[in-house]
């Protein structure tokens, strides 16, 4: 079964407001109901399905697209008892989104954005580059939402099998590598920019880049990074002219 392109786009668009109705009782539950409502209200048995659609569910806002597509399919099939199925989606869909988007994609784009702003030659270039960063950040997420709704609908009950694709294990590794380099460059260039001496500047760049890259690749907790960073900053300020 395939969801029409028009319906996929409508669900994707309405999914953007998922978090608006976030509450501690059903978390995103009413958000799914809102996304499904134009279709649901035409259904003869909507009274039965409203509860199923609005029941507790909490996932990452982007990965929620998989849940939404699957939910639509299950309701279409006439399933009404969805509580335990929805419970089993929360962890995996939350985990993938948190790890991939909040923990890797967002910081990576932030580091790249800060880097290009640091290197941009003029305020006009800053504006263009900042707009480009917003676009680069959001375009894949918009695509992912659209894909998620369609794939979720196709898989229905077995929606979690979408997460077994090799992409979901490969992507964090690649994003982690690129992110560590981008953050290293950002810290290194920021440190180097404050130095008037060429040799000292190069040393500061290497130390900044190396420490940041190492800390991110090794996932060293912030608790240990902060004292080292403060000690390094103090040492640099003492030896700089």
């Amino acid at each position: 079964m395939v969801l029409s392109e028009r319906e996929t786009c409508r669900l994707t668009r309405r999914l953007l407001l998922l978090q608006v109705l976030l509450n501690y009782r059903s978390m995103q539950g009413e958000g799914y109901l809102y996304a499904l409502w134009p279709w649901l209200r035409r259904s003869e048995s909507r009274a039965l399905h409203v509860q199923a659609a609005a029941g507790f569910l909490n996932a990452h806002p982007v990965m929620a697209s998989l849940a939404l597509g699957a939910l639509r399919r299950r309701i279409e099939n006439g399933d009404t008892e969805l509580t335990s199925w929805k419970d089993s989606l929360c962890g995996p869909l939350g985990m993938v989104g948190d790890a991939l988007i909040w923990d890797l994609w967002k910081p990576l784009i932030f580091a790249l954005g800060a880097l290009v702003l640091l290197l941009a030659p003029s305020p006009a270039a800053w504006v263009i580059l900042a707009a480009a960063c917003v676009l680069v950040y959001n375009a894949p997420l918009a695509w992912a939402r659209h894909w998620g709704v369609r794939e979720g609908y196709r898989l229905g009950t077995a929606v979690l099998s979408a997460l077994n694709r090799p992409l979901f294990s490969a992507l964090p590794k690649h994003l982690g590598r690129v992110g560590a380099v981008a953050a290293g460059l950002l810290v290194g260039i920021s440190l180097m920019a404050g130095s008037r001496m060429q040799l000292m500047g190069a040393a500061q760049f290497i130390v900044g880049f190396g420490l940041t890259w190492f800390a991110l690749r090794r996932r060293i907790p912030l608790l240990y990074i902060l004292p080292v960073a403060m000690a390094a900053a103090l040492a640099v300020s003492l030896v700089s002219p």
Partner: protein, 166 residues
Amino acid sequence: MSLPWFRRENRLVFPVVRVDDRLLHGQVVVGWGQTLGVAPLLLVSDRVAKDDELSLTFRRLIPEELRGDIVPVTDAAERWVRGEFKNARVMLVIETPVDALKMVRLGAPMKVLTLGGLHFREGREEFLPYVFLSDWDRTTLQELRALGVRIQCQDLPTSKPIPYGE
């Protein structure tokens, strides 16, 4: 950022045992696991351990450095009793307070139980925005307290633990 675990009364006790009905999500992996350098991270659930497909999905999702695994409640208790968690930064995530009680009854030397995420269900009342408790949960927690387990609510290691039932 406050570091409340530096205070004596709030000092983290390993293994950290967290009750979270979602088991695995960003708060657990990034907030607790990666911030505190937890390894291994054990998801203790009979429901997930029985479901091969769900177990496989969970295993794939846990970052390698956390050396995650999914274990049934009895196995986790037995490993704890055998002393396998000694001198390790172990974190156990369990689904319900009943699982914690089961572990303690099997001999697990649990000192502190952290309620990290028990969400709304029919019959549960709000204790904190992230902790909703049913009468059954409350009875179980009382029993755990009577067995010498300190109960606290804490969503992230950087937030202040809120004692339960004191």
